[in-house]
Subunit: 508 residues, 2 copies
């Protein structure tokens, strides 16, 4: 600090320096996008690679941004799995866009902490507005919208949306029967439901013996059976338990299966249960009229969530949750310490989003969703989603017409689930008797497909991730990265075929 006053703070937000360095960073990122296809999609580094190249402690003195960016390029980029690569077909996409990026920049620039209305009215109000916009785009029943007496919130993830609604349902029931009965509450889902629900149940104190993951089958496309749901519920009631909550899914993670919302809600309404619809992945597609039927029956549910950060260009993180009974949600999640009391809250004229989520602090996520919706408009967003589906259909046809492969689950959106077919493996292995239904051979078929996937992913040319359904190891090709075009899908198919040929020849 030298001869300066002890009060003199160095300005870490000088606008000239901000301009200079932020412009530099814009170009760094644009260059990254231009070069993204040059990197292996799946990072090829070994565990612990980074601690061998970075210092053991933070520097005492400042380092120039140029040195830092050099390290980013040399040490960080090789350790990234490139989610924005057009050859990224793993998990589900988390797709970027210019509008989403601009929205993140602006929200970061303002850096307001909108836990309640007064702490930044625009952040709360814009969130309520875009939540209604998006609800209309999905043609959600009016009862889910602020304009119809419901309401919504932007969470960071579906995990949070599921947890918050489960807590709401739990507290509604426990407030009636008493907290000591928590051990009687039972929650339901299918064996295809995202693991987030199991985690939410554990967190909420639902006893693990009361977690019902109802079996689905390939023959019914891995959809939850209303019949099985009812018989499971009845059996629980006979045992003196209390059915609490159903987590239904539109677009499961393994195969994008769709649970039949209408029939399921017909069951649950007889037992006064809370139904949450997790459409994390497939919700985006449902803004297209031709896909809307997948959420038919949502009017019987209590809450609905999906992730614009998957396919709707908002960058991570952005999960929209709508509930019919926002008062119950707020009752479960609100706190009112003295240091947050204010007139606006007391007036009950405003939305304080701290009472709609787990955490107090919250980023201004509505900004990017608003900029995305305005920059692209409903029509363009629908068209891009349609192109993703068309590309997936193309890929599905390529797979289906090659008798070395088979489609494992019917494609509904832009995810294709496939594998090398048992018959191709049997044929390649013709020297021995091959019964694809024997356990040994089932496991051999899985092993071959696992080797195929590892071989493809270690090539760096594309990245897919697997799942296992009904004991079948499946390759998932999730199409929808922003930069993915027809050529990338065709290239992916060629790489897959080439690796399969090698594997099949190796294993005869």
């Amino acid at each position: 600090m030298g001869s300066q006053s002890i009060y003199t703070k160095e300005n870490l937000l000088d606008s000239n320096e901000f301009r200079k360095k932020a412009h530099m960073m814009v170009d760094f990122i644009a260059d990254y996008y231009e070069n993204i296809e040059k990197y292996p999609v799946l990072s090829q580094v070994a565990p612990g690679y980074l601690k061998n190249v970075l210092p053991k402690s933070a520097p005492y003195c400042p380092e120039p941004i140029e040195s830092i960016l050099k390290d980013v390029q040399e040490h960080i980029v090789p350790g990234l799995t490139h989610w924005q690569s057009p050859n990224f077909f793993a998990y589900f996409p988390a797709n970027s866009s210019i509008a989403g990026f601009l929205g993140e920049m602006l929200a970061t620039g303002f850096n307001v902490v909108g836990f309640n209305w007064v702490s930044s009215p625009a952040a709360s109000e814009l969130e309520s507005i875009v939540i209604d916009w998006l609800g209309q785009m999905l043609v959600l029943p009016k009862s889910f919208l602020f304009s119809g007496g419901g309401g919504g919130v932007i969470h960071g993830s579906s995990c949070e949306a599921i947890l918050c609604t489960l807590l709401t349902a739990r507290d509604l029931v426990l407030n009636t029967i008493g907290s000591d009965s928590i051990g009687k509450l039972v929650v339901y889902c299918s064996d295809q439901t995202h693991s987030a629900f199991q985690k939410a149940s554990q967190i909420a104190g639902i006893h693990s013996r009361n977690f019902r993951a109802i079996k689905t089958t390939r023959s019914t496309s891995f959809a939850l059976s209303p019949h099985l749901l009812r018989s499971t519920i009845c059996s629980d009631i006979e045992d003196g338990l209390i059915p609490l909550y159903l987590c239904a899914t539109v677009g499961t993670t393994s195969t994008a299966a769709v649970d039949p919302l209408g029939s399921l809600c017909n069951v649950t309404k007889d037992y006064g249960m809370w139904v949450h619809v997790d459409a994390a992945y497939a919700g985006s597609a449902c803004i297209c009229p031709e896909f809307h039927h997948f959420i038919d029956g949502v009017e019987g549910a209590n809450s609905f969530s999906f992730n614009p950060h998957k396919l709707l260009f908002t960058m991570l993180d952005c999960c929209c949750l709508w509930v019919k009974d926002s008062n119950a949600l707020i009752k479960s999640l609100s706190t009112s310490p003295e240091y947050l009391r204010n007139k606006a809250t007391d007036s009950k004229q405003v939305v304080d989003y701290k009472d709609w989520q787990i955490s107090l602090s919250r980023r201004f996520r509505a900004m990017k969703l608003w900029i995305v919706l305005r920059s692209y408009g409903v029509e363009k967003l629908r068209n891009v989603l349609r192109s993703n589906v068309a590309l997936a259909k193309l890929f599905e046809e390529l797979v289906a017409t090659d008798n070395k492969f088979e489609i494992v689950a019917p494609r509904k959106f832009s995810l294709v689930c496939f594998r090398i077919s048992p018959s191709a493996i049997s044929k390649a292995k013709s020297s021995i008797i091959f019964n694809s239904k024997s356990e040994t051979n089932k496991s051999y078929i899985n092993e071959i497909n696992n080797k195929l996937l590892e071989s493809i992913n270690s090539s760096g040319g594309l990245y897919m991730t697997p799942t296992v359904v009904e004991g079948v190891f499946v390759l998932r090709c999730a199409i929808g990265a922003t930069l993915t075009q027809e050529a990338h899908v065709r290239m992916a198919w060629n790489v897959i075929k080439k690796h399969a040929d090698v594997i099949l020849n190796m294993h005869v």
Copy 2:
């Protein structure tokens, strides 16, 4: 889509357009910082202002970024409470910096979803590295660092850190005594502990009758008494209950009070309880050797968290949590669905951060923390934190030497808690007999101070928020916004004095 192939997707991540628009946004944000003092710090809009000026639904066709930015300037900025204003003294700061902004840009640009190691190795590894760097800067016991057998994670908020550690403690005990005993678990804190802890307890299914907020007093600077803690625990044990978890605080939200960690841990160790130290606000200051003594005794705790997003320039959101027993944390929070299985995880050589937090998806928050630590270095960060404290000391002296005011709680960091003194009100109200200890007059004194605060905040010149401790309404002046310099603090004091004069004259 016209005559184009149905496969042709519009490129929403074109690098030329990205460059052009992101450069435009950099300048928009830099201009915002340059003009930030022109806006009222606390937004002066009325509830519902925004829905009156925005359309009722999302546009069908794209809108140009210029129109969107025009709306941001005209309709969003007036609705913001300007957390980055140098005249923002409310809550605790969430301070921005150029390095933090660059880090957010880069993380947003990469937009990787690092839920496990393989999904982006650099994201997980950089997080473990910077967590150790920061732990060293705090001189945390080695047992909290990865290099010493512990470990840490970056959460979005302290609420999440508290919840995750509470769940860990809960499950450790319930795994031994059985889940049906959840109603016997008791948790402890002081009446000054952040409301996040009460919310976390509700979420975790701790019975509300088993939540102990132990009373503190002004005479002991609102610190939790180890003596009272022990007697409360003993009484609970006599009642057949099980002491589970203590949430101790270093720098409470109301007055930045510090709980005596060493003495508290001496109590809890006799009962095998989990101790979490929430240093959300004051943790940053503890990187300065002269403030480190406030976390003396942390070696007896099980976990420690603080928010670099408050005073350490990382932008919202960034909360660092360290735990000694990371295996217990992981056991409570892990899931392993088929669609996330991979060789790296199976090898147990890597950190999968999905098992250290509530949600699966996670942003690459380590990037900004790394860039902040490198861009500024330890020395400069300490010096800026010291300047904040020096400015708070200056403000405290200005208040203390004016007999119209009084300091309500001793200042330890950069928060000053004060009010118009009862004697000044008594003097102004000399026409009647005034006993500042009568309940009527206590409430009158609070009312006067509340009016003072409202009058100041509605002027737009600065923004402070209140608290109430021991029935006393307190004005909190939280110094530490990045742009705050000596002149802003002196100006704030002049505005406060001017408004107080008006109020005191009005109320005689």
